[in-house]
Amino acid sequence: MTTTNYLNADYGIWSWLLTKDHKRIAILYLISITMMFLMGGLFALMLRLELLTPAGDLLQADTYNKFFTMHGIVMVFFFLIPSIPAVLGNFLIPMMIGARDLAFPRLNLASWYVYIAGAAFTLYAIFTGGLDTGWTFYTPYSTAVANTKVIPAALGIFITGFSSILTGLNFIVTIHRMRAPGLTWFRLPLFVWAHYATSIIFILGTPVIAITILLVAVERAFRFGIFDPALGGDPILFQHLFWFYSHPAVYIMILPSMGIVSELIACFSRKVIFGYGFIAVSSLLIAVLGFLVWGHHLFLSGQSVYASLIFSLLSFLVAIPSAVKVFNWIATLYRGSIEFAAPMIYALGFIGLFTIGGLTGLFLATLGFDVHVHDTYFVVAHFHYIMVGGAIMGYLGGIHFWWPKISGRMYPEWPARIGAVVIFIGFNMTFFPQFIAGYLGMPRRYHMYPPEFQVLNVMSTAGATVLGLGYLLPLTYLLWSLRYGAVAPANPWRATGLEWQTPSPPPTENFTTTPVVTEEAYAYSHREPEYV
């Protein structure tokens, strides 16, 4: 029964560490980012425990400040940004387009090593005392005042950025040059479109954060006046440069997740996706418009009123393509044959959380209202709904959906369904109260807080416990399934898409013969066309 596949084609640690197989590199990433996720989660747990009471009684103020900083840095730069692209993108893009590998397999392996090198610097910073600048590194605090490990952490982020750039480059070239015969642009799975848009942000945005964070290190080390007004620099310049990347970075996290959701909704409704072209183009539109809204992080910085007006307007515009995607997913459900497998529950959960996250984004784009909730827990709740609620729901949905392909084993269905529901509920319990706390005026990054906010904080911490347990569930049963799970057939979901036309797990070369594509994506529906 055992056939040769990418997992058993070769043995030994070096067959992994020196592999050029995109599927094995995806596994390397999967292991690395899971470690980082656990670490970032541990920091979050400590923060939530501290916030159980208004007094600063569990952690020292400095320790608390370091924990939220390192929670942010680890989760953003070392988990969320690489998560879907580096794991699922890496694994699936060549398979979805009928290719044997990415265009540059060695570069792909190099990008993992670059990621590890960056992580090593950052972990060094964390384990030799940590840093307390916030993941945003605002100047002049980060360059002139903080006496923590800013430089190694900054270098870690600088280095890791190149991993993103290389991955983006690899994806773009692969998608342009290596599509199977017949696989035209508008036959591509939407997952691929989403990664194409994400790769554009990787390539155009990441160099800016790399330069910016390097300038922070330079000013700190050599006292060059770049951002510190005492040296003749401009602290607001830093915020412009930082958010020029870090706002689009949110779309790096959410676009691939949207790509996954399109796959899941179509497959588990057994229907062709509604408005394929609009969903595909909206990804590109989000990637482009996403570069033009960074100034909404600077509404209260003293930025000119006119600039704030323009950034507010553009922030509203970027909401439209996101809304279009949601409406198209709902239309796909219409007259479908909906099956509530665990990945589908994640996808539907994504729609719920992303909708709340997106709609509260409108509150923040509204200038007059933002003045009140800027830098409060309202913002914390909003971006967690997008980056955690949205991005991680999509990521976990995708991990479950393609787990049979990746591991060759089925995950256990019922624990997975329960896990998805627990995560959805736990997430809302954790973050919904934070909207209220923010509107009531609780500022973010507070180690201590006035007692009137305690009830909401206790609710949030209770929810975080549920959420934490929810995340441990998939971790447990997915590991369990590696040995005890049912052996997966090539196409357990009766899904379209080239990745399902090859055995699970696939052979190293993905396809024994190059597939030829003769139809559109998501040909789930019966053939006679009907119109609404």
């Binding site: 609009f278 003293g302 507010s312 515009l317 509260t360 990054r445």
Partner: protein, 334 residues
């Protein structure tokens, strides 16, 4: 009421009720769409749940009409939000001319406040009800943010420049003052209180003998900002060059709010930021016709003293230029 239930912060400024109205609008629109989306997702999920594995589904490719509709309608609603929020923001950024001036300097980890009349306070701000108050903010070290939830206002205090925000309190009471921009170890301890008083109480408070502020190095209040500024103006020798007929420095009476021509022919509006820059970095923008001979006062004046000097220079503009010039020479004055 919502405030009693702990679902709304106290509403104590003219701006607060406007923000809450906008909030109610945003909440209603987004709640409507959330419920609508949830209803469709749940409704379709139930109605079209899989009953048999051999079910066939219709081939619905999409509909351009629908796509246009669900792009244009949200866009229209978003534009209402944009204009509503934008117009409020513009108002917030334009303090009324008769606003009472208060200077705020943030430093790790306290708020240092001085009223025009000279009264100083730390981590407390006393203001009268029913009178617009304009805050001019800066910072001595890192970025802070002055946040009063009950007023629904917030403004960053940025080192090296001035920012402003204004409010008009509507209800006497004591309200939270928070630092909203992370500023280091005791960020969450950089808090205080806004004390809103009846105008009569405020006047009494303002003129009462101020107790010496707790922090070391801060002179006791009492002397008005303008008087303190004049003293600095004389003590630091500004008066020797900035006097009528001087060829060494431009006359300062009435200069605030005008535009001056610089050596390179460009013009600059004389505002608080320009005055501050000219005191600390005099060579940066030298007025045409004058030599770059002014020494820097960096390190000799702290942020509060610079604000006092600026208050004095602005007061020169408020009086007829002749007496202003006389003031500069220090020969007359109250």
């Amino acid at each position: 009421m919502l405030e009693r239930l702990g679902l709304m912060p106290p509403q104590a400024s003219t701006f607060a009720s406007q923000v809450d109205m906008l909030y109610a609008f945003l909440l209603m629109v987004t709640a409507f769409f959330s419920v609508l989306i949830a209803a469709f997702v749940i409704g379709f999920s139930i109605k079209y749940r899989r009953r048999s594995d051999s079910e066939r589904t219709p081939h619905l490719h999409g509909s351009t009409a629908l796509e246009i509709a669900w792009s244009i309608i949200p866009l229209g609603i978003a534009m209402v939000m944009f204009f509503w929020g934008a117009s409020m923001f513009v108002t917030l950024k334009r303090p009324p001319d008769d606003a009472m001036q208060v200077n705020v300097v943030g430093k790790q980890w306290m708020w240092k406040i001085q009223h025009l009349e000279g009264r100083r306070e730390i981590n407390e701000l006393h203001v009268p009800v029913g009178r617009p108050v304009k805050l001019t903010l800066t910072s001595e070290d890192v970025i802070h943010s002055f946040y009063v939830p009950a007023f629904r206002i917030k403004q960053d205090a940025v080192p090296g420049r001035y920012t402003t925000v204004w409010f008009e309190a509507t209800k006497p009471g004591r309200y939270h003052l928070f630092c909203a921009e992370y500023c280091g170890t005791k960020h969450s301890g950089m808090i205080g209180e806004i004390v809103v008083m009846d105008p009569a109480d405020y006047q009494a408070w303002l003129t009462a003998e101020a107790p010496a502020p707790a922090a070391a190095g801060v002179a006791a209040g009492g002397e008005s900002l303008v008087a303190a500024g004049r003293a600095l103006f004389e003590k630091n020798g500004c008066v020797t060059c900035h006097q009528p007929g001087s060829v060494l420095g431009p006359m300062l009476a009435g200069i605030v709010g005008t535009s001056v021509t610089l050596q390179d022919g460009s013009t600059v509006k004389v505002d608080e930021d320009y005055l501050r820059e000219s005191i600390l970095t005099p060579q940066a923008k030298v007025v045409k016709g004058f030599a770059p001979v002014m020494p820097t006062f960096k390190g000799q004046l702290n942020e509060e003293q610079i604000l006092q000097l600026i208050a004095y220079i602005k007061s020169l503009g408020a009086t007829p230029s002749a007496s202003g010039a006389a003031d500069v020479q220090g020969k007359t004055g109250p």
